[in-house]
């Protein structure tokens, strides 16, 4: 499959060179794959006009009928420092499209160039943008979920715990839309930014080297759950050496305490970053569990008989 790189940033950091690269692969797998900027005239707080300064959405619409008129915003992981655009992006879009669900892969801005609140701002803009174009994409604006992996899971949990109904007075029709996702899918997510269970890299690239303790607390998603947090599906593995599995348990517990419907599958074995785990016989049942949950909730059509 032909893969092209949109842009490569190489930044010298303590400990070595860190590459931030964004590669929208997988167009061969799906009919669509049109990429649009989140803001036509430049993103707020942008420090340039390069690829890394320009958050985008890549639109993947199913070839067949979207019977439940559902869309999912996909947030790839990469520790808030790069983006796993294929395994946690276009591959996910292809999986959703094959099941009749529209997908929108988010390229959000990253550290060390961009810190909070730029990342959540990009995510919220993407949700509002999809809602504003719901009819065009063939989805119901109240059937828009968000699915994030690893640090993208943190971004998703953040989007699910800080949202607003939109600004009805705004001149921009996108800004008038709600930024609340209707459901969350969190795959091996970063949830807390507090010690001892935080993923240090995600915290560093989201908040910088010397983060404000108040921000560390308020961006620990387990502390922000309310009854209005959307229904959630969690997946992780117990022997994940990168993001402690307890991150998922903390979020689960907070959701149960708030009375939010939630499902969680924690497998024993599997490394961090499994994606859909198609090649892993121990894990590959997990997307089927997710499909069942989405079907149960009316966000995916029943499997073809």
């Amino acid at each position: 499959m032909h893969t092209w790189r949109m842009g490569v940033l190489a930044a010298g950091l303590a400990g070595g060179m860190v590459m931030a690269q964004v590669a929208p692969a997988g167009q061969a797998d799906t009919a669509a794959g049109k990429t649009i900027p989140l803001w036509q005239n430049g993103a707020p707080a942008a420090q340039g006009t390069d690829e890394i300064d320009t958050p985008t959405l890549t639109i993947y619409l199913p070839a067949g009928e979207n019977a439940t008129r559902t869309g999912v915003l996909v947030a790839p992981g990469g520790g808030y420092q790069h983006l796993s655009m294929q395994k946690e992006g276009s591959d996910i879009a292809a999986w959703l499209n094959a099941r009749g669900v529209a997908a929108f892969v988010l390229k959000y801005r990253l550290g060390p160039k961009y810190h909070h609140p730029v990342e959540i701002g990009d995510a919220q803009r993407a949700i509002r943008l999809v809602r504003a174009h719901a009819a065009e994409y063939g989805i119901d604006p109240s059937h828009l979920g968000m699915w994030g992996f690893s640090a993208g899971g943190h971004l998703t949990a953040t989007a699910g715990t800080r949202f607003d109904a939109g600004d009805p007075a705004s001149a921009d029709p996108i800004s008038r839309q709600s930024s609340r996702p209707d459901f969350l899918v969190l795959a091996y997510p970063v949830i807390t930014l507090k010690e001892p269970l935080a993923h240090a890299g995600s915290r560093k690239y989201l908040l910088g080297d010397t983060p404000d303790p108040a921000l560390v607390a308020s961006l620990s998603a387990e502390t922000q759950v309310t009854k209005d947090t959307p229904p959630t599906f969690l997946f992780a593995t117990a022997d994940d050496k990168t993001v402690p599995v307890q991150n998922s348990v903390m979020f689960y517990t907070a959701l149960v305490e708030a009375g939010v419907p939630v499902e969680m599958h924690l497998f024993q074995h599997g490394a961090h970053g499994a994606g859909l785990a198609a090649a892993n016989p121990q894990l590959r049942v997990w997307p089927e569990l997710l499909a069942k949950w989405m079907r149960e909730n009316g966000w995916m059509a029943p499997a073809a008989q």
Binding site: P231, F233, A238, V245, Q246, V249, Y252, T253, V256, P261, V262, E263, M264, H265, L266, F267, Q268, H269, P281, Q282, V285, E288, L289, K292, W293, R295, E296
Partner: protein, 291 residues
């Protein structure tokens, strides 16, 4: 009266001469195992199924016979334990019965055609509490005991815990205070002494934990409390909490409007196969060496 689970090949008494502390010789005084042998020549893994019922009754079919027959059909020799119950018997009588069942099966491994190092438990609800307790509190047996059964370990090699009460922490809402096990008005000390999440040690065997978030009888935070406890001591665990489903979903199959849960037996089979506790599916079955 207790209705036996259906389909068992036979039953046997854990203590033919009478159970310790028995108050009589009736059915309720005589804990027993119902045996569901797996067919085939290989040394099978064994699972003792512990039905639930709040330590006051036993759900013998949904949480006994059905999983036992499913296990036997999948090449695992199964047993259903009838343990002693309140209000006639209280703690630790059910625990003694459970421990005895493990020792009995293990010490008769040759007779049952099973591997004595592959003896697991599958407990439901209160039976899941019993399984969790036995996974936390066990010994290696008394080498010089007169009864050969007492010479072997009562540590289960693995546990499957289905909608089990595993924590009596006040942070987790609960409708009852385990009166079936502890009698009316148990003290906080008595509750703590059977709060399994507090009892696990680094010797805890691998666990597969199943629950539903919608369970209003045994809160799903029992499952996460146990999971956290196992992780804390460095043990191995897998956790599946489905969103829908009331208390008592059994194996998750055949439930109207709860089709989502019907995948759970596949998860159990996959987990057992990966650990060598269930033969691989026919197509990929390796030749198993007899021990």
């Amino acid at each position: 009266m207790i209705t036996p689970p259906s389909g068992a090949a036979r039953s046997l008494l854990l203590w033919p001469g009478g159970a310790p502390g028995a108050l009589g010789k009736d059915e309720l005084d005589t804990p027993r195992l119902y045996v569901y042998p797996a067919s085939g020549e290989t040394a099978h893994a064994a699972v003792i199924v512990l039905p639930g019922g709040g330590y006051r009754s036993l759900v013998m079919e949904k949480e006994g016979g059905i999983p036992a027959r499913w296990l036997a059909a999948h090449g695992v020799t199964a047993f259903v334990l009838q343990y002693r119950l309140g209000k006639r018997y209280y703690f630790p009588a059910p625990m003694l019965d459970g421990a005895r069942a493990i020792r009995y099966v293990r010490s008769h491994a040759r007779e049952f055609g099973i591997d004595p190092n592959k003896v697991g438990l599958w407990g439901f609800s209160a039976g899941g509490h019993l399984a969790g307790y036995l996974a936390a509190v066990h010994d290696s047996g008394q080498a010089r005991a007169a009864d050969p059964i007492d010479r072997v370990s009562d540590r289960p090699d693995f546990t499957i815990l289905s909608y089990a009460r595993l924590s009596l922490s006040d942070e987790i809402p609960r409708a009852t205070n385990f009166e079936g096990l502890l009698g009316d008005h148990p003290t906080p000390e008595a509750l703590r002494a059977v709060s399994v999440d507090r009892l696990v040690t680094r010797d805890v065997p691998p666990a597969l934990i199943y629950s539903t978030s919608a369970d209003q009888t045994v809160d799903s935070r029992n499952a996460t409390a146990y999971y956290d406890a196992v992780k804390r001591v460095g043990g191995a665990a897998e956790l599946h909490i489905f969103e829908p489903g009331p208390h008592g979903t059994g194996m998750g199959t055949g439930l109207k409007g709860l089709d989502e849960l019907s995948i759970f037996p596949e998860i159990v089979a996959g987990w057992m196969q990966r650990h060598g506790w269930m033969p691989a599916p026919e197509a990929a079955r390796p030749v198993l060496a007899r021990r």
